[in-house]
Symmetry: C2
């Protein structure tokens, strides 16, 4: 037997018990004639004592243990003279009387401590060692608990977890598919699912009523920071529901998770914001509403004073930063530099200080008198001591620039507290968005999203104006989930495919089975999907989703630990009937 | 709002409530001036009544409803005059006063009833309609519940569910991998996992201690009946354990599932049988021990009577079928035909009737006297009235033939009751098996399985004799799960790879990261994987795993509903740098 207890288990009431523990040597130190060994496992750390005088041989053996050796030690539990309050086992130590080395260890390439000296690359390569660090392991245990709580909540609401296939069919719409060549059907391919979208809709047509799945999805996209080619979703669908039913159900899930995982009670209804308002007031379809600082449109009142930049601008937008009138020239210059960064791209920044004494000072004093500046301040609801920041230009470009500036001011004012959670439903997304490259409309959400009934008449005449029954859950400016009420009617679905540029043949070849399914009695239905990785990283209080994935890939989609992707044997290519387009070096 | 209640919810105490239900029209019938509509959803069936006299317009609308129309009906709950005891809602009906058609239905290609008229192919093509049948849906709900109970049991034992990657690395060992071409790293490929084997071992090295995952796995094999290219496993691993710890833990899981899903109490320790004994006494490494009928080796006592067939045989094996001495000539001929079927391949069958009156009658009376036949009967522990059946030949070939005969006799004697469950651990599997084709040893389980310490000395001298710390859970003759204690030592692992014909370079290229991980302190560990689909089909009491999979593939690995695999766009091939070996037609 390798152990009677774990390394996190022994307490003062175990004193005099004879126990055996197994684990990794965290550290060993000699003090006079004694040797102390800290043994670590997933559950904690326990201290062992070896006495050179009373048991020389054993103590010498202990002195030869290196860090990360795996050992099994037997001994008697004793009360510690100097207790360690920081760990739950700190009241006891074990007087060792036998030790078995189960496995030796070379010196690890980085220290196995929360504060490690290992860089990102090294830790990715030796991920199995990185996972030994308790801070990393705790993230994955949190992820595990999140899975339990998601299932608890949905199971109790009669959702059925149903596995959908991983080997499916490639579709041209949306992001790029990973494909899987078929050996038994040479020249044909499976694709890995970007989401189980069509299958969950079919389950609704099958009468499953409430479906969910915690499921791996795949996208072969050029990886931006913090995207993974394989990622996990909480995928859900409900039948005989309207948008409110779904929002209520998953608002409930969100509250349940916050309560269970963070002990945060959210005793309020999540606010809802139209997409149009989100763009108008925050320049962003996932606004961080931990703080207000809404945009104010000065386009009307700030024109007509012969200041060409303003007069010619399509849009003049302002935010009011409370208490920032004291910002120095240097601080204002830094903000100007900030908005001029290439990834933001503003041409400049106009400021207006509303000083504590009631006076105004702005960077455009030349063109505007006090009375005019006062009007701006009033429009912005500014108080003495506030600072108004203004960006101008094409509206579509200026809104996101102002959004970045708003978030930056939120940071500077400490308004984006990690321990405050501000959930928000963004609703009424546009159904379609214009794609400049292909010069046609794309589905903003996906081609199965239903248009709002009251906007349906514009589908042919003004498609960009049609709103969808689509919604996103946003928390602290991060998109956590999104979904829609689906089309459940063959004709409307066919009309949608036509608008998205599918020929009848293409629509039939790709989605014929779904359109066919609609013919046999499809219930109204809708659903949502949450980013499991993103949600887990939020609960863990970390930025990157990588840290909540056991074996993540790097930004080139490579698993540097196992060295994958990698070449395959020529015989495998032959079996699949495939060849390389260019000869490999 | 589409519904106030489900179709399985209303009871006598709801009488006079005004309710709205939504669902599918199961059937409609006219009786005098009344029309009765049965509305179905996942939860049940409720009867609606339309009265031609009191509400002509509505009743006429109801009479136009076809099967599988999706409707929402409002009305008042009333007590039924002739109650239907067969369904929970049978005490009430709803007097309809409004009806909304949500979706029409064409006539379905087969009837949506438990006893459907649809054939296999048709039901696969219209799987979304097949899933409407309550018997099919119940299988998937059972599967869902199985998932819940697996997780309940393992969560409570501190197992951490950890997702391992789906895009991994191709390995030449074992079954064929599905591969996924990488676009970002042209000429390189991911592979889909046949199991998360290496990752779960790495998690043990990481100190996760107890891991599990309900996980999709993939094998690109020529599909036999009832194999799927993608299948689901309950995959588990534990550190600091010996074989008994694992067997006990997962015996516990099995008992928990039987209790929760079948209300079957298994208040006994599962029997354990050596692989060698399983082969010797049942001719099979997954014996059905719902009945005894062990093999008796007559090779010694039945020789030396100038019956050439026996004298020259390597092996003479017998089974004793209780009470079958009354078998007629015709029945015995049928058994002879059975064992001579090509897939079984015996040359003939020898029988020995031990008649009720104590006399003997056998097909080899010419060569053997009563005294000799009596000896056989004694060896077989036969009683008057029993029938002894004997097969002879090469031992390795005869054992499986006798196994088939034993199972057939079990069937004929009604000894294989579907409602009796006989679990069994088969242990001490051989480490290696000889492969005729490649003329080398293969790992019987996989290359990470540890040899038994006491057999290790034979690894170089008599590798076929070395037993492994490997075990299978068998229930009613079906392999439900299997696993092993793993190697956790670099040198032994390297020695194993050498025996399996890997060069050092190959071992390093394929499993270098694992061998490297062993260098940093690997704990003793082992695990098991259960076939989730197989287990679900056993609990559902059905033969095929297809029926517990929402969207299964057919025997050619094809999803006939979505028509996959399928050709992809040339542009996709170009992006991946791939071409076809032969030009496609």
């Amino acid at each position: 037997m390798y152990r009677t207890h774990t390394c996190g288990e022994l307490r003062i009431q175990n004193v005099n018990d004879t126990v055996t523990l197994s684990g990794w040597v965290q550290k060993a130190r000699n003090l006079g004639g004694m040797t102390f060994v800290d043994l670590r496992d997933r559950y904690g750390i326990t201290q062992f004592v070896f006495d050179m005088e009373s048991n020389t041989e054993l103590c010498e053996k202990a002195r030869k243990l290196g860090r990360e050796f795996v050992v099994s030690i037997t001994g008697k539990v004793a009360e510690r003279q100097s207790k360690n309050d920081k760990i739950p086992t700190g009241a006891v130590e074990i007087i060792a009387d036998d030790i078995t080395i189960l496995s030796k260890s070379a010196i690890p390439p980085f220290t196995i401590e929360d504060n490690t000296d290992g860089g990102d690359e090294l830790r990715m390569k030796y991920r199995y060692l990185d996972l030994r660090r308790s801070c990393v392991r705790e993230n994955l245990i949190l992820r595990h608990k999140m899975g339990i709580e998601v299932r608890n909540y949905l199971d109790q609401l009669n959702f059925i977890e149903t596995e959908t296939p991983v080997l499916i069919k490639s579709t041209p719409e949306g992001a790029r598919d990973f494909i899987v060549p078929s050996r038994m059907n040479q020249g044909e391919f499976y694709a890995l699912p970007q989401s189980p979208q069509v299958f969950k809709q079919l389950l609704m047509i099958s009468g499953f009523d409430r479906y969910y799945q915690i499921v791996k999805c795949f996208r072969d996209e050029d990886l931006r920071a913090d995207r993974q080619p394989e990622f996990t979703q909480i995928d859900c669908e409900m039948a005989f529901v309207e948008q409110d039913d779904i929002l209520d159900t998953f608002e409930g899930l969100t509250k349940h998770l916050f309560k269970k995982l963070k002990n945060v009670e959210m005793n309020f209804k999540f606010p809802r914001l139209d997409y149009a308002d989100a763009m108008e007031f925050y320049g962003n379809d996932k606004p961080d509403i931990r703080f207000d600082m809404k945009f104010v449109d000065l386009s009307v009142i700030a024109k007509g004073s012969d200041f060409k930049v303003f007069d010619e601008a399509e849009y003049i937008g302002a935010i009011c930063a409370a208490g920032c009138a004291t910002y120095t020239r240097k601080q204002l210059d830094a903000l100007t530099d900030f908005v001029k960064k290439p990834q933001i791209g503003a041409k400049g920044l106009v400021y207006l200080r509303y000083n504590e004494d009631g006076s105004y000072k702005s960077s455009v004093d030349k063109f505007y008198g006090e009375e005019q500046l006062q009007k701006w301040a009033e429009a912005c609801n500014a108080k003495p001591g506030d600072l108004i920041l203004i960006l101008v230009g094409e509206k579509a470009k200026t809104l996101p620039q102002l959004s970045e500036l708003r978030l930056e001011m939120g940071n500077q004012l400490g308004l984006r507290d990690k321990n405050v959670y501000a959930p928000l439903w963004v609703v009424d997304f546009p159904l379609l968005e214009w794609d400049e490259d292909s010069e046609r409309f794309h589905a903003m959400h996906h081609p199965f999203t239903s248009p709002k009934k009251e906007d349906l008449h514009m589908l042919e005449t003004d498609p960009g104006k049609v709103r969808a029954n689509a919604y996103d859950l946003v928390i602290n400016g991060v998109e956590i989930g999104g979904g829609s009420i689906r089309i459940h009617d063959t004709e409307l679905q066919a009309r949608m495919f036509k608008h998205l540029g599918f020929t009848d043949e293409e629509a039939q070849a790709q989605f014929g089975f779904l359109m066919n399914a609609f013919k046999y009695g499809a219930p109204p239905h809708g659903g949502i999907a949450f980013g499991f990785d993103r949600l887990a990283s939020m609960f863990a209080g970390i930025e990157s989703i990588r840290d909540v994935i056991a074996f993540p890939k790097n930004n080139s989609g490579r698993d540097v630990m196992i060295d994958s992707p990698s070449p395959i044997a020529e015989a495998q290519m032959v079996e699949l009937g495939l060849d390389y387009r260019k000869k490999l070096k």
